[in-house]
């Protein structure tokens, strides 16, 4: 899914945006006000970043009265993850070494 990957990489390439996303991953749900307090940028800037994150499917917003709570959608990162193949590659190369070892061993 190269398109999905492109969007995710572009979205997370911005350090402020990535920091917001990481904070939501770490701490759970937050309002814009709470996020702004630690973001080091203005509230409109935080709102804009959250909008981009939402468009990429990385955050979910939950309106409650006049407040909107944002939470991380970690499953959206799935397209970036290909550790399964990397791990398989790791074991394949380990098995190469294992065969080398066996060839050197007695019996």
């Amino acid at each position: 899914m190269p398109d999905a990957q492109d969007i995710l990489f572009k979205t997370l390439a911005d350090p402020t945006r990535r920091a917001l996303f990481e904070r939501l991953c770490r701490d759970g749900e937050h309002t814009v006000v709470a996020l702004t307090a630690q973001a080091g940028v203005s509230q409109p800037a935080v709102s804009k970043h959250l909008g981009v994150l939402k468009a990429a499917g990385l955050v979910l917003d939950r309106p409650e009265g006049r407040l909107t709570h944002y939470s991380a959608q970690r499953s959206a990162l799935a397209p970036l993850v290909d550790w399964t193949s990397k791990m398989a590659g790791f074991w394949e190369s380990r098995f190469d070494e294992l065969e080398n070892l066996l060839a050197r061993m007695d019996q």
Partner: protein, 141 residues
């Protein structure tokens, strides 16, 4: 958020050596060190040991199952200061006689869903881990 999601990596290979010999390579520390990592492995169920990579990474392991010449299973956990980057998995080796040789099967399973995001962080955790593994492998080659 999806519920517990277990992913599995399976690698199989026909090895031109009998199971008994392969078993030694899987269970004797000085031999394990030659193909996998430095370790203080003992083939006793419940024994805790570490696999130490050249890159400084340490895997915390515990022996879960020992069937001499047939199967070996241990946990393969990588602790990280940030829990989201933790890796918890179980590695199981199964040896099946195949002619004069052995069919070796490695199954690694049991990743929690939040480990996927750690990798997706694109800079940290798993990618770093694998990057260092790859550096290690390059040096080994």
């Amino acid at each position: 958020m999806s519920a517990q999601e277990i992913r599995t990596v399976v690698v199989e290979r026909e090895i031109a050596h009998p199971p008994a010999k392969l078993w030694r390579a899987l269970t004797q520390p000085h031999l394990i060190a030659e193909w996998l990592m430095a370790n203080d492995f003992v083939p006793d169920v419940g024994h805790r040991f570490q696999l130490r990579g050249d890159w400084g990474g340490v895997l915390d392991c515990e022996v879960l199952e020992v069937e001499p010449g047939e199967s070996l299973s241990y946990t393969w956990n990588h602790r990280h200061a940030d829990a989201a980057y933790d890796l918890e998995s179980v590695v199981t080796f199964t040896l099946t006689p195949a002619g004069a040789g052995t069919l070796l099967r490695m199954e690694q399973a049991g990743f929690r869903p939040d480990q996927k995001q750690a990798l997706g962080g694109a800079k940290y955790g798993w990618q770093q881990f694998f990057g260092k593994l790859e550096q290690l492998l390059d040096r080994v080659d």
